[in-house]
C-alpha cells in the first residue's frame, strides 16, 4: 500500500513514460485489497475495533500527515500540528455545544465546525509565519514553544478554555437522520476524511505548489533565483497543512467527546512527531502506518506486559521501545523497511524509486 503514494511520474502524466495514476493501480493489488478491507470492516469489526482502533488511527494519521507534508515535502519539522488540531477541537466545543453551558455558545454544529477550522488554520498559519525563517532545530524549538504556550494558556484560562477540566459532552451531530455518534457512521466519517486528506496531499505534491515546496526543501536559494518567494511559499504550506490538522481536530473532539489541555499537551505533541517519523516521512501513507502502530501499542501494550508477567503500569516503556526499534532499523520508518524489503524480494530489477521526496 505504500508504493503508489508520491512517486514522480513527471508533471505531464499523459506523456510520461512512467505509469500514470490510472495504469499504476492494477500494479498494486495491495492497495485495492486495503481499500476493500477498510470499506467492509464494519461488517465484522466490533465497535471497539471501528472506533478505538481505526477511527483513532485515521485521526492521528491525519494530524501526522499534516506534519509529513511540512517535514517530508518542505523540510520543516513542525511540532505545532497537534496544537492546531487541539485548537480546532476547542473551538468546536466553545462555539458549539458541550456540558459547560456557561461557555459554549451553542451555535449550529456546521457553523461551529467551519469557524473552528478557520480559526485553527489561522493559528497554524501564524505559527508557521513565526517559524519559517528558522531552520532545523530552531524550527522545532519555536513550534514546541508555541505548543507549550497553547497548553499552559488553556490550562490557566477559565473564561474561554475552562482551565484544567476543559469541555466534555461535545457531541457528534445528527445529520441526514443518521446518528454519527454510532460506531459504523463515525468509522466511515473518519475514513472518508482520512482518504480525502491523503488524496489531497498526494495530488498537491505534484502540483506547481507542491513541486515548488519540494524545491524550497532541496535548494531554497535556487528557488529564490527562479522567482519564488520562499518565505511566502513556506507559510502557504503551513496553511495547507493546518487545514488537514484542523479537520482532524474536529474529528478528535467528536471521537473522545471531550477536550482538555492534556489533549494537546507536550506528550501528544511529541507523539505526533514519533508517529510521523516511525511511519515514514517520505510518503503520505507513512503517517497512517505510524498511527496504526501507535494505536495498537497504546491499546495492547498493557495486556502484553501483564501477559509476560511484567508490571502493566510500565506499558509506556513498550511503546517507546517499539518505536525506538523501528527508527533504529530504518531511518525512514516502516516505509523505509517496506521499500527495502520490496526492492530485495519483489522487484529486484526495478529501478530505484523516483522519490518526489528525497
Amino acid at each position: 500500500m505504500a508504493v503508489e503514494a508520491s512517486r514522480t511520474s513527471g508533471i505531464l502524466p499523459a506523456s510520461a513514460p512512467a505509469p500514470t495514476a490510472a495504469s499504476s493501480l492494477p500494479r498494486y493489488p495491495a492497495l485495492w485489497l486495503l481499500a476493500l478491507f477498510l470499506l467492509i470492516l464494519p461488517a465484522f469489526g466490533s465497535d471497539f475495533v471501528l472506533i478505538q482502533l481505526f477511527g483513532w488511527t485515521f485521526i492521528l494519521g491525519m494530524i501526522a500527515l499534516s506534519l509529513m507534508f511540512l517535514g517530508g515535502y518542505g523540510g520543516m519539522v513542525s511540532l505545532v500540528q497537534m496544537t492546531v488540531a487541539g485548537c480546532a477541537g476547542y473551538m468546536v466545543a466553545i462555539f458549539g455545544t458541550s456540558a459547560v453551558a456557561e461557555i459554549s455558545l451553542g451555535w449550529p454544529w456546521w457553523l461551529a465546525v467551519v469557524v473552528a477550522i478557520v480559526i485553527a488554520t489561522l493559528f497554524g498559519t501564524l505559527s508557521g509565519a513565526l517559524s519559517v525563517r528558522t531552520e532545523g532545530i530552531y524550527t522545532i524549538m519555536i513550534t514546541l514553544a508555541i505548543a507549550s504556550a497553547f497548553f499552559y494558556f488553556t490550562l490557566q484560562n477559565y473564561s474561554i478554555f475552562n482551565g484544567f477540566s476543559g469541555f466534555n459532552a461535545v457531541r457528534v451531530p445528527q445529520v441526514f437522520g443518521i446518528d454519527w455518534r454510532a460506531a459504523v457512521p463515525f468509522y466511515y466519517l473518519t475514513l472518508f476524511w482520512a482518504v480525502i486528506a491523503y488524496l489531497a496531499v498526494v495530488y498537491v505534491s505534484r502540483s506547481p505548489f507542491g513541486l515548488a515546496l519540494q524545491g524550497t526543501r532541496d535548494n531554497a536559494r535556487r528557488m529564490e533565483a527562479l522567482g519564488f518567494n520562499v518565505t511566502a511559499h513556506r507559510i502557504a504550506a503551513y496553511a495547507f497543512a493546518s487545514v488537514i490538522a484542523a479537520v482532524a481536530g474536529v474529528l478528535l473532539v467528536w471521537h473522545g467527546g471531550q477536550i482538555s489541555p492534556g489533549t494537546a499537551g507536550v506528550g501528544p505533541v511529541v507523539d505526533i512527531l514519533i508517529i510521523a517519523v516511525a511511519g515514514g516521512m517520505s510518503r503520505p501513507i507513512g503517517p497512517f502506518i505510524g498511527a496504526l502502530i501507535y494505536v495498537l501499542l497504546r491499546t495492547f501494550a498493557l495486556d502484553v506486559m501483564e501477559a509476560v508477567g511484567l508490571d502493566g503500569k510500565r506499558f509506556q516503556l513498550l511503546v517507546g521501545v517499539g518505536f525506538l526499534l523501528i527508527v533504529l532499523f530504518s531511518p525512514d520508518g516502516v516505509l523505509g523497511l517496506w521499500q527495502r524489503w520490496h526492492r530485495r524480494f519483489l522487484a529486484p530489477a526495478a529501478p530505484p524509486a523516483r522519490g518526489g521526496v528525497r
Binding site: 514522480t8 513527471g10 508533471i11 505531464l12 502524466p13 499523459a14 510520461a16 513514460p17 512512467a18 495530488y203 498537491v204 505534484r206 502540483s207 506547481p208 505548489f209 507542491g210 513541486l211 515548488a212 519540494q214 524545491g215 532541496d218 535548494n219 536559494r221 535556487r222 528557488m223 529564490e224 533565483a225 527562479l226 522567482g227 519564488f228 518567494n229 520562499v230 511559499h233 502557504a236 495547507f240 523516483r354 522519490g355 518526489g356 521526496v357 528525497r358
Partner: protein, 262 residues
Amino acid sequence: MPANVAERLSAVGTANALELRGVTRLFGALAALVDITLTVRPGERRAVLGSNGAGKTTLFNCITGDFPASSGTIRFFSEDVTHFPPHERIRRGLRRTYQISALFTGLTVLDNVYLACCGISRGRFSLLRPRRNDALVASAENLIQAVHLAGVRDQLVSELSHGQQRQLEIALALAGAPRFILFDEPAAGLSPTERSELVEILTSLPAHIGYIVIEHDMDVALRVVESVTMMHNGRIFKEGRPEEIESDPEVQELYLGGGHHG
C-alpha cells in the same frame, strides 16, 4: 499591471540594463567587492574575466541579491533594486546560472524547467496539476528543445552527465521572459563539442537579451561578447572591447601571462 508593463517597455529603450554605483561587499573583514561602478546597456553582451577569488561570483550574488551589497546602489532597467529580495529581481527579468550547478536532482529535467517556468508566472501557488495543453508545460518543453535536452526530458537530473547538467542550468535561466542574464562559468568542465554547443546557444539568444558571462576560456568568451570587464582583487581593473583587452600589456602581465611570470 499594464501601466507597469508599459513603463518597463519604455524603459528598455532609454535606461541601462544594469547600473552599479559604488557597490561594495564585505565578508567579515574581507572586502570581496570594492566600490564597483559598472553600466551595461540593454542587449549588451559582456564577459567578466579575472583570476580565482577576484570577486566575479560575488558580483553576480550582489546583482541578484543572493548576497546583498554591503553598500552602493544597483539599478535594473532604471529601477533601484538594491534592497529587493532575489525573487523580486528575478520577476523583473533578471536571471542567473550558478558556477556549481544548483539543480533539483531528485526531479526530472522537465520538472526542473517547469518549476523555473512556474517561478516567474502567477501559477506558482497553484494547487492544480497541469493539464495536457498547459502553457507553462509547453514553454518548458520548448526550453528543453532549445538547450538540446529533449532526449533526456523525463530522466532524473541526478542521472544526467555533467555537460547536460550545465545545459539544464542555462535552461532554468531562460524561463519566462528574461531581459538580462548572468552566466557564471557556463563552460566549466565542458568538452570541446559541448563548448561549441554552448557558444551556439549563447549566440542564438534573441538580440534584446543582454548578458554577462564569467568565462576563463578566452576562445569561448571572445566569441560571444562585445565587451570585457577585467576584475582583480574585488575591483574593476580594466574595461574595453575584447581585442583591446586581449592585447593590453597590463592585462597580459596580470592575467594571461601571469602564470609564466608569477
